[in-house]
Symmetry: C2
Subunit: 423 residues, 2 copies
């Protein structure tokens, strides 16, 4: 009880400091924020030795605790990764300032001049797992968009994150901004996460979870403040009857196999029953040749015997691995219905030369990203030309698709008058 | 237990029907939606007798239960109010279609053509109190924006709402749209609200509470789906030292007294210590002459002895009545700090002829609406030229300020390619 009270007090201080820092950031110029970012990038480079030393300790601990090789790889930093982190912060500095943009402006018949102006959201809480580079990426995106951030990383990367934080705060100091603009929860106590989700007495405006399904589920179940979640990407590629065979083969292999671990990777391939059988077989052969396991329905297994039998569970699974589920659908309406039933409203593609069919697909579905004749792996802020992103939003409110610096702003209405009163 | 299970089953059916209706609405043309709205308006007019009969029963019950005169007035319908309701639905039909707007469009170096297109949110749950006209207003705004709506009105207006619902559903039927596009929770059991807040098994995309503080607080505490809340409007008008006296007097009286019960009414007047004493006294006299009770700090009471002593609680109070709290502040920074401390991020105004001071006020504060030389009573969708609104959002996410049909849409990215794969 006493421990919890002490933790609550420490977290409350974090919240209040974040709110004060947010006020300073809201009024900071683009130049000041960029100065902080560039100084932070330099500090990351200059502190490479101490960051790597802290990471070596985290790694030793993680190995002693027998973490999986995949987790160890996510946790691991080397000189190249530290350099990439610094370059990432510089890339964020190079983006246009998202704050102060006039999003719309109009004049009313009574002479009131109304503008909708982009403003920071305030204090953002980010809860993430093992990758220590998220500490720098997330802080840079929040700082650029004028938001204070409270970071809660995985306990296994605590030492690495603290070393990175020191560099980020050096950057803030160099620009005359409060170091509390970027704070790290100073404990691995899980109760601290609950306090963040409760909003730290009204100090947190938005929570962004970055991590696996169970983390996001906990955040969505417990949060008392708005959540910007990027959930699973159960992405579909639908090869329509009028698909160009060469495009279909190239796009499907890329959509599944370019990188299997990203949320925009295709997990289910829908083949139209009116596709040429040869195209279907070729696509499956291409995937198999790249090392992809194929789980198909009965029709698929008949034309491609190496396929395993897909179960109902497969249509709902985000493999994030070299596995694909494949289903034959009677027509475009069946494809749409399958995606509506099993998809996660992330990203879906249609491959066809029939513009009418494509427009039907693009109009009927309401996923965050819908593509025609392109790979689902384009679901990415960089590929959209939006610069760094903090994830791909799959919710319906505020922001969907890539969440970059513009998506971390809100707006206010500024109304200029000349003494108008309402009649 | 069994009762709850039965209720849960009924509510789940409502959710599934809403989701199916949302799919149909998503693809409905603007013409079809307008046809439904105009037919609904006609049906409201044609059903005036049955709506008024149902309302008379609600009123009799409410009187028997000794509801307050204010509540009885909100509940009461007469021919004029029914006609206004029908006209309101027609006004929504006359708005431009908010769905399908291309919000942005750009082409990437690899030829991908990316559009951000406005789409409906899906299924919206609206929880409101006694005014039966909300049934028609809210349904019309949701329908126009392509959303299905599940309405949960106050138990005291259940009969009136059901009669209005019948007219709305007649309109939907006339346009060939599913009647489940507008549903009313068919029970006054409070447990039904809890089920809506839990999202009806994933069927509800957004909850909008319309009502008093305790309703909104319950919704925010319990909701497991996003909430678009319009909270209190503790609105401020700050009379700067360089205010034009005539504008200051006209705007302050209008901001407080035009209508005291709306969320954009000014609740606290901040007078700059460098304002001419005569202006301060005149403003207070104007307010008192209109019947406004003045609660001032020590300085105010010294220059205007009729004022009562303001307490700390007054600075945090939304009176919604002919009462104003008045404070003298040393300078604009003190005014800004007072608003940040006590305000609700709704609407604030500065009265000044000093453009630099005005811009400082407009930049430093982050309320949803900031006005220069105009009345806070302009905080209204109609006054902004946005047409009908469902409220004034005071949250930071998705929509702030007036929430009209555009604010009840979200967007998706539509990407048109020519076989692009990601490198």
């Amino acid at each position: 009880m006493n421990e919890n009270r002490e933790l609550a007090a420490r977290m409350c201080v974090l919240g209040v400091a974040g709110r004060d820092a947010a006020r300073a950031l809201r009024e900071a110029s683009g130049d000041t924020k960029n100065k902080a970012l560039l100084a932070a990038a330099s500090a990351i480079r200059d502190s490479a030795a101490s960051i790597l030393a802290a990471n070596a300790q985290d790694m030793a601990q993680a190995k002693a605790e027998r973490l999986s090789p995949a987790l160890l790889d996510r946790l691991m930093l080397d000189e190249k990764r530290v350099a990439a982190m610094a370059a990432g912060v510089e890339a964020v500095a190079a983006l246009p300032d998202p704050v102060g943009r006039v999003l719309a402006r109009w004049t009313r018949p009574n002479g009131l001049d109304i503008s909708r102006v982009a403003t920071p959201i305030g204090v953002i809480g980010i809860i993430y797992e093992s990758r220590p580079n998220v500490t720098a990426d997330a802080a840079a995106i929040c700082l650029k968009s004028g938001n204070a951030v409270i970071l809660r990383g995985g306990s296994e990367s605590a030492g690495s994150s603290a070393a990175i934080l020191a560099a980020l705060q050096a950057g803030l100091k160099a620009a005359g901004l409060p170091v509390e603009a970027v704070q790290l929860v100073p404990t691995t106590d899980r109760a601290a996460v609950g306090m963040m989700l409760a909003g730290l007495e009204g100090s947190v405006d938005l929570i962004i979870p970055r991590g696996g399904k169970s983390l996001v589920a906990r955040v969505q179940a417990e949060a008392r403040v708005p959540v910007l979640a990027h959930l699973e990407g159960i992405c579909h590629t639908y090869v329509h009857a009028a698909a160009d065979p060469a495009k279909a083969r190239a796009v499907v292999v890329n959509a599944k196999m370019r990188r299997t671990g990203i949320c925009g990777a295709t997990e289910t391939l829908l083949l139209d029953a009116n596709c040429p059988r040869e195209l279907a077989v070729r696509v499956l052969e291409d995937l198999a040749a790249k090392g992809c396991e194929i789980r198909g329905d009965g029709t698929i297994r008949a034309i491609f015997p190496a396929a395993k039998q897909a179960t109902e569970e497969d249509w709902r699974t985000e493999y994030l691995d070299a596995v694909i589920s494949v289903k034959v659908v009677d027509d475009i309406e069946k494809a749409i219905r399958h995606i509506e039933t099993y998809g996660s409203h992330h990203t879906e593609a249609i491959i066809t030369e029939d513009a009418g069919a494509a427009e039907r697909f693009l109009a009927a579905l309401d996923s965050a990203i819908l593509l025609w004749n392109a790979s689902t792996q384009f679901a990415d802020g960089g590929e959209f030309g939006m610069g760094a992103e903090i994830g791909i939003g799959t919710g319906k409110l505020h922001a969907r698709g890539p969440v970059g610096v513009e998506q971390l702003t809100t707006f206010k209405y500024v109304v200029r008058g000349n003494g108008q009163i309402r009649g």
